[in-house]
Amino acid sequence: MLTIKNLQAKVGEKQILNGIDLNVKAGEVHAIMGPNGSGKSTLASVLSGREEYEVTGGEVEFLGKNLLELEPEDRAREGIFMAFQYPIEIPGVSTINFMKTALNEIREYRGLQALDAVSFLQLMKEKMKLVEIDQSLLSRSLNEGFSGGEKKRNEIFQMAMLEPKLSILDETDSGLDIDALRIVANGVNKLRNKNNATIIVTHYQRLLDYIVPDYVHVLYKGKIVKSGGKELALELEAKGYDWIKNEVAVA
């Protein structure tokens, strides 16, 4: 589904990604871990098409298309979804209204008719149940005055609504207490199927207790320095990132 080859990127004058290689197939969950400043969030931003990040080399192919040539909105319409680390507030725009606009724009891009109000409502009700979110929250202005947990739950609700092929969860566990973490993880798990894929960007192992990854990659200084199965995350947790840093230094 997603093939990243030797991806390099910078912000301003600062080179952050120094040659990333990654292969994600449908049905897989990949966790990208790494210490602060290793380039995890940059990778997520580059894939979603943030303007401030300049790609300086490499290739990214998504479902047979050159992802780097697509506008951010077209990447979303092709099926890439990013759950933001800091979801933004949009006053006066309810989540319902926001999702209706997004869903219909995506449908239009795919040559589908806009959903009528009844079908939309039905879809919404179904997804609300799935991710355990209350309608009163969805009627409020998007993320305005939401708690940290509510914001993240709202992100997962949007993910459920848009049914992306590839979801990128950027530090979704940050700022969540254990109950919120469980609800968010449950939502993600329910949305997993053999046709979609997930990339989880995280600093801590604890989210991976709930969302079990197929692969774990460790990012350090803009490169994937170690890859393995889910047990790698546990090893990291036990030994700390210094273990990786030392290993890299020795090599």
């Binding site: 979603s48 098409g49 943030r50 303007e51 506008e71 951010p72 909105e73 990447r75 979303a76 319409r77 979804f81 990013m82 933001f84 979801p87 933004i88 949009i90 006053p91 006066g92 725009v93 209204n97 926001f98 606009t101 997004a102 724009e105 995506i106 891009y109 202005s141 949007q158 848009l162």
Partner: protein
């Protein structure tokens, strides 16, 4: 007016009492403005003597007044002698189909979601008899007549209901209120008159659209709405379709008058030609709008969506004379390119326990300047007066300006006045969040801006609100990125 002025005026007016003849054959007054012009207009409209005198008085007052310089707008001096003040409504050439209309205009109509019938009406294409707006208007008029509601053109009202016009004309906006109001009083072309009798709730939104002779009311429009005891009316002015006019200067006057327990809700969507991208052309819109809550427990509510005109100078106000009366002002003012707007409201609290609420949402883009100017005045007698003002500005890009000029005068210690103001920018982060959900930049801006202005749009009648949202998006098209 001082005694000296009064005497002076009587003398001067006497001089002009006789000896003027007016050529009724021509359809157009010669360029320029003098007493002759005023007499010409009045004669053309077949007005009674008292109205001519009223106009002349206003003209003489106007001559002694000066154009206001305090608004935060800049434009070359207006040559008042270079304007034609009266021309008979010209019959527009009737077209056979929309194909003959400027395709750009049709595109705009489509974006606004204006129906084909309406498009035809606006561009002067012949419309089927069945859906002809005139016949619709006639039906409405009959229905209103049964309830005793008077809704007609100003000229018609002068002929049919002179006692009402005599009583209320200038009762809210005196002829010498300001420079542009005086000019309007002297040369007003036509407008609307509406009277809702005691205890009647007008069953439909009244709009100039449903009024016969609504077209070509000219550049000096005058509207007067009176709601008698316990009456209610919602009135819509303007439309979202772009309005072009050969006349650059527009100076309208609107007067609202509510008796005890009465309510008037007045909604405007103004979309006059704003000039081109470089600021050439465009309408100068200098409007005086004021409502008088005369009776106790009466209410006047202004809602405006201002997107057009090169220059807007407009302060729909409420004079809260009756005890427990309520004044409201909800405004969205958008400026783009080189537009300039200086708009806001005045809430004058005279009666006891009067309340007012101001919600102003300014949006500036391009190289435009957008000013909110509002006054809250609590007079000595107005104990327990309350006001809440919310003035927000939204900036798009870094070449526009947003300004807020609040004036608060309180003469009674029991008053409670609250003023909140915010300034914000549409953030890159907000736009990116939308993009990442598959919403393109234009739709994102529309979404964000409409969310920002929602509180005001909620005050508009449903259909109008939907159109206004589209209009807002259209006005700001291409102003980000």
């Amino acid at each position: 007016m001082s005694k000296g002025n009064q005497v002076l005026e009587e003398i001067t007016s006497k001089e002009y009492e006789h000896g003027w003849t007016v050529d009724l054959e021509t359809d157009e007054a010669p360029k320029g403005l003098d007493e002759n012009t005023v007499r010409f207009i009045s004669a053309k409209k077949g007005e009674p003597e008292w109205l001519l005198e009223w106009r002349l008085k206003a003209f003489r007052l106007w001559q002694k007044m000066e154009e206001p310089k305090w608004p935060n707008v800049h434009y070359p001096p207006i040559n008042y002698q270079d304007i034609i003040y009266y021309s008979a409504p010209k019959k527009k050439a009737t077209l056979d189909s929309l194909d003959q209309v400027d395709p750009e205009l049709v595109k705009t109509f489509e974006k606004l979601g204006i129906s084909i019938t309406e498009q035809k009406r606006l561009t002067g294409v012949a419309v089927d008899a069945v859906i002809d707006s005139v016949s619709v208007a006639t039906t409405f008029k009959e229905k209103l007549g049964e309830l005793g509601i008077i809704f007609c053109s100003f000229s018609e009202a002068v002929k049919e209901h002179p006692e009402l016009i005599k009583k209320y004309l200038g009762s809210v906006v005196p002829m010498n209120d300001n420079y542009f109001a005086a000019l309007n009083a002297a040369v007003f072309s036509d407008g609307s008159f509406c009277y809702i009798p005691k205890g009647v709730r007008c069953p439909m939104e009244l709009s100039t659209y449903f009024r016969i002779n609504a077209a070509n009311t000219g550049q000096f429009e005058r509207t007067l709405i009176v709601a008698d005891e316990g009456a209610y009316v919602s009135y819509l002015e303007g439309c979202t379709a772009p309005m072009r006019d050969e006349n650059q200067l527009h100076a309208a006057v609107v007067e609202l008058y509510t008796m005890k327990d009465a309510e008037i809700k007045y909604s405007t969507v103004q979309n006059w030609y704003p000039g081109d991208k470089n600021g050439k052309g465009g309408i100068y819109n200098f409007v005086t709008k004021r409502g008088l809550c005369f009776g106790n427990h009466s209410k006047i509510s202004w809602t405006q969506v201002e997107t057009g005109s090169a220059i807007t100078w407009k302060y729909p106000s409420c004079v809260l004379k009756g005890d427990y009366s309520v004044g409201e002002f909800y405004s969205v003012a958008v400026t783009n390119n080189h537009q300039q707007a200086d708009t806001g409201t005045k809430m004058i609290h005279i009666g006891k326990n009067t309340r007012s609420r101001i919600v102003s949402k300014g949006i500036s883009a391009g190289k435009s300047q957008n000013s909110y100017r509002g006054q809250v005045h609590v007079m000595k007698r107005a104990s327990n007066a309350r006001n809440h003002s919310q003035c927000d500005s939204l900036l798009m890009g870094d070449q526009c300006g947003a300004h807020t000029f609040p004036y608060i005068d309180v003469e009674n210690n029991s008053a409670r006045i609250e003023h909140e103001a915010t300034t914000s920018k549409i953030g890159e982060d907000q736009i990116f969040y939308c993009l990442q959900r598959g919403i393109d930049e234009e739709a994102a801006v529309a979404l964000i801006v409409n969310g920002y202005a929602k509180e005001v749009f909620n005050q508009l009648p449903m259909e109008f609100a939907v159109e206004a949202q589209k209009l807002l998006a259209l006005t700001l098209e291409g102003s980000v990125g």
